[in-house]
């Protein structure tokens, strides 16, 4: 199967390319960019006029909900939402039921993803058995089964001593450790950013300190053990500083931020709308600006969706009692494009944050349009406006604060391993 994608603006940060060119796909691989390969006969021609052709997006954190929470979403429904959002691969955290702490669960997820045939799924295995934070899980076996890293998915690890052992063991087998930094005792029963809005609304706050204390500890653990620690979903200016300093010192840490934290602040929760209930919480405007700057200067390596589909009832409760998280795979691109239009985020960095950035963290093929690489491609129209309605969301989770909003930027075609999986 040969595909020619013509007349699009090709942005491929990994190869420092930003030019109008054709992309040629042959047998699931990128055959050429710009110059037609010898003897190439296109079976399908995609006109990408007015669109941007980029590497397929890679998401570092998207909950698939399967196995165990099929009433919130399935691997099939959420990988379809992923390709609608331009993602050709998604990492799923281990907090399924049963927890992904065994080869069997990893195999099940990979099998479900293969059968669905939409985005690739890269499972993140459990760092500790049952995510209970006490006993190291079989990290080596999980890696062999196909996990791209291990993590505890927001569940606390009982002590720094256990965390140190986890890092040492992960380093032994060269497995990345994914951590959402949050000190459980400081976060306590908080549900929003500790600040003026929390005080006004009388909601329990999660202080920035809960994150920065954890980041500091994790940086030191990485320095001490040599393990690669990936810090997920940072929210604060001070964390960005700590990561920048760690990177300057050559410590093996990488970091990402969710698209929502780049566009929302704690002011969003002013009306107690549970659709804005998010963990970690949205922070201050100063934090938001620092996160954008951190993404621009490379301190932050990637943007993730932090996709958390829920059934309707999960949000039908008073704010603190509602479940945190939103369905966001399909909103990432338009949210980031809104920053591009505000001149806060250049287009090449936007694409890098969703392609070569996460690919580098995962040490995976993809994230570029390099000749010979897998043909994972996203074609999107940055000017196309669309109304977010429940019916337009492909995810099983309709829990998004953007229902009723008009967003700009729409994926036209997504190609995975040379197959058009969304158009």
């Amino acid at each position: 199967m040969n595909i020619e994608i013509k007349s699009g603006r090709v942005i491929d940060p990994a190869n420092e390319m930003d030019a109008e060119a054709s992309v040629y796909v042959s047998d699931g691989k990128i055959a050429a960019v710009g110059t037609v390969p010898e003897g190439f006969q296109a079976d399908q021609v995609i006109d990408a006029s007015g669109c941007i052709v980029s590497p397929g997006f890679i998401d570092l954190c998207a909950h698939m909900r399967e196995p165990g929470y099929e009433y919130k979403g399935t691997v099939a429904s959420e990988t379809f939402a992923a390709v609608k959002g331009g993602f050709t691969a998604v990492c799923c955290p281990p907090d399924s039921s049963p927890v992904n702490d065994s080869e069997a669960v990893t195999n099940l997820i990979l099998d479900l993803a293969g059968r669905a045939g939409f985005a690739k799924v890269y499972p993140v295995g459990a760092l500790t058995k049952g995510l209970k934070g006490q006993q190291l899980s079989e990290v080596y076996s999980l890696k062999q089964a196909g996990c791209v890293g291990v993590g505890n998915s927001g569940h606390p690890v009982v002590s720094l001593s256990v965390m140190k052992r986890c890092c040492e063991y992960a380093k032994t087998h060269d497995v990345s450790v994914f951590v959402r930094p949050e000190d459980a005792s400081l976060a306590s029963d908080g549900c929003v950013h500790e600040g003026a809005v929390a005080t006004r609304l009388g909601l329990s706050g999660i202080p920035v300190l809960a994150e920065t204390v954890a980041v500091s500890q994790l940086v030191l653990l990485s320095e001490e053990t040599g393990a690669h620690l990936h810090l997920s979903q940072l929210t604060s200016a001070r964390s960005v500083e700590l990561v920048a300093d760690a990177k300057r010192r050559g410590i093996r840490v990488t970091a990402d931020v969710s698209a929502q934290h780049l566009v929302l602040t704690d002011e969003a929760v002013s009306g107690f709308d549970s659709q804005f209930h998010c963990r970690p919480p949205f922070r201050s405007e100063l934090d938001r600006q620092a996160l954008i700057k951190g993404l621009r200067d490379g301190t932050l390596d990637a943007v993730c969706s932090q996709h958390q589909p829920h059934e309707a009832a999960a949000k039908q409760a008073p704010f603190a009692e509602s479940e945190a998280g939103s369905s966001s795979l399909e909103m990432v691109l338009p949210l980031l494009l809104s920053l591009e239009r505000e001149s806060l985020l250049p287009l090449d960095i936007l694409v890098r944050s969703l392609s070569s950035g996460p690919a580098g963290i995962l040490v995976k093929d993809g994230g570029s349009l390099s000749v010979g690489g897998n043909a994972d491609i996203c074609i999107f129209d940055p000017a196309k406006k669309w109304l977010v309605e429940e019916s337009s969301i492909k995810s099983a989770g309709k829990n998004t604060p953007w229902i009723g909003a008009e967003l700009q930027g729409l994926v036209q075609t997504t190609i995975v391993d040379g197959r058009v999986v969304y158009a």
């Binding site: 009388g202 008073p318 603190a320």
Partner: protein, 330 residues
């Protein structure tokens, strides 16, 4: 792209009249003054031999208390009955939700009983907002205290008491003392006092009992009673729950009383004609000395009396705004 929800989108109708009473946030001085004036006019009802007016005749008011409170529930019940409403008292914490029913399910059942007004107390901040969003537009919601967020009728009865004793708000200095961190009353009082134009609102507490950025609500912070009470016209003591005495918030009842308990001695820091208020129930010897609580400067019992009048005012105004909103939309 931030899209915060405007609090008044919910609680005001198209004419800017109350249809729910959820928070004092965003309510202007005119509305607060109207509540006080209306309440003033209802005080006389309580002095009659037949203590009833027909404003809510034929209406059904449901007291939905998800958190126990005898005093507040009783004053709401009395207020509704004096307005001639039919009143149903439901203590939800010991019934439906304890059997696993969700709040949404409970509300649907109550709506099916054709209620006109829910008076809601809930341990979660924002619960009345959630209920106002969830129920049919025909039902009016009155917040009787939610989590740490707001207790707007308590704040308004405090305002009525201050106005009765001081005659005005301009130029007044008001101190609120004690557990500001957990107090929905304090948050609503700070909002009301600033809207009504007092000169200064002070909060006095150790830092462990102060929420972050309390200054952003329009209050100045004091850690000492001597400095904080200096020259104030009104002292509002807050109730301190005994469980706060444990753990890391406070070292002991003794030390709290020593530093922040309102005694005859400490009362002298304030203006000689300062009034002393307390939302009740009082912990004598913990946050206030008996001699002060029962003394000539105490207006604590006036607050209780005013509670009924203020709740009558708010209920009648909200029901009127609700009826207007429904007739406009239909």
């Amino acid at each position: 792209m931030t899209q915060p929800t405007e609090p008044n989108r919910l609680q005001l109708n198209e004419q800017g009249r109350l249809r729910h009473f959820l928070t004092l946030d965003g309510l202007n001085r005119e509305i607060l003054t109207e509540i006080l004036d209306t309440a003033d006019s209802f005080i006389e009802v309580g002095e009659r031999s037949i203590k009833k007016v027909p404003l809510l005749r034929g209406k059904t008011v449901v007291n939905l208390f998800f958190e126990a409170s005898t005093r507040t529930r009783s004053t709401f019940e009395l207020a509704a009955k004096r307005l001639s409403a039919d009143v149903l008292n439901l203590n939800i914490s010991t019934s439906a939700t304890s059997k696993g029913e969700s709040l949404s399910d409970t509300l649907q059942n109550l709506e099916a009983m054709a209620s006109d007004m829910f008076v809601v107390r809930h341990s979660q901040s924002g619960a009345p907002h959630f209920i106002a969003e969830s129920v049919t537009p025909k039902v009016s919601i009155i917040n009787a205290g939610d989590g740490r967020h707001a207790h707007p009728t308590q704040a308004m009865l405090d305002m009525l008491t201050i106005r009765q004793h001081k005659g005005h708000f301009e130029g007044l200095k008001v101190a609120i003392v004690g557990d500001i961190l957990h107090s929905r009353v304090a948050r609503s009082q700070i909002r009301a006092l600033n809207t009504l134009g007092v000169d200064e609102v002070r909060v006095i507490a150790p830092n462990t009992l102060l929420p972050v950025d309390i200054e952003s609500l329009g209050a100045s912070v004091f850690n000492s009673m001597k400095d904080g009470l200096d020259d104030v016209d009104v002292i509002i003591m807050l109730r301190l729950q005994k469980e706060r005495m444990e753990g890391a918030l406070l070292p002991s009842e003794h030390e709290f009383y020593e530093l922040y308990g309102l005694t005859t001695e400490k009362l002298k820091y304030a203006k000689p004609d300062a009034i002393v208020m307390h939302p009740g129930p009082i912990n004598r010897g913990v946050e206030i000395e008996s001699a002060v609580a029962d003394g000539p400067q105490s207006v604590i019992l006036n607050q209780v009396t005013n509670g009924i009048a203020v709740r009558m005012a708010v209920m009648s105004m909200a029901m009127s705004g609700q009826t207007a909103a429904i007739s406009t939309s239909s």
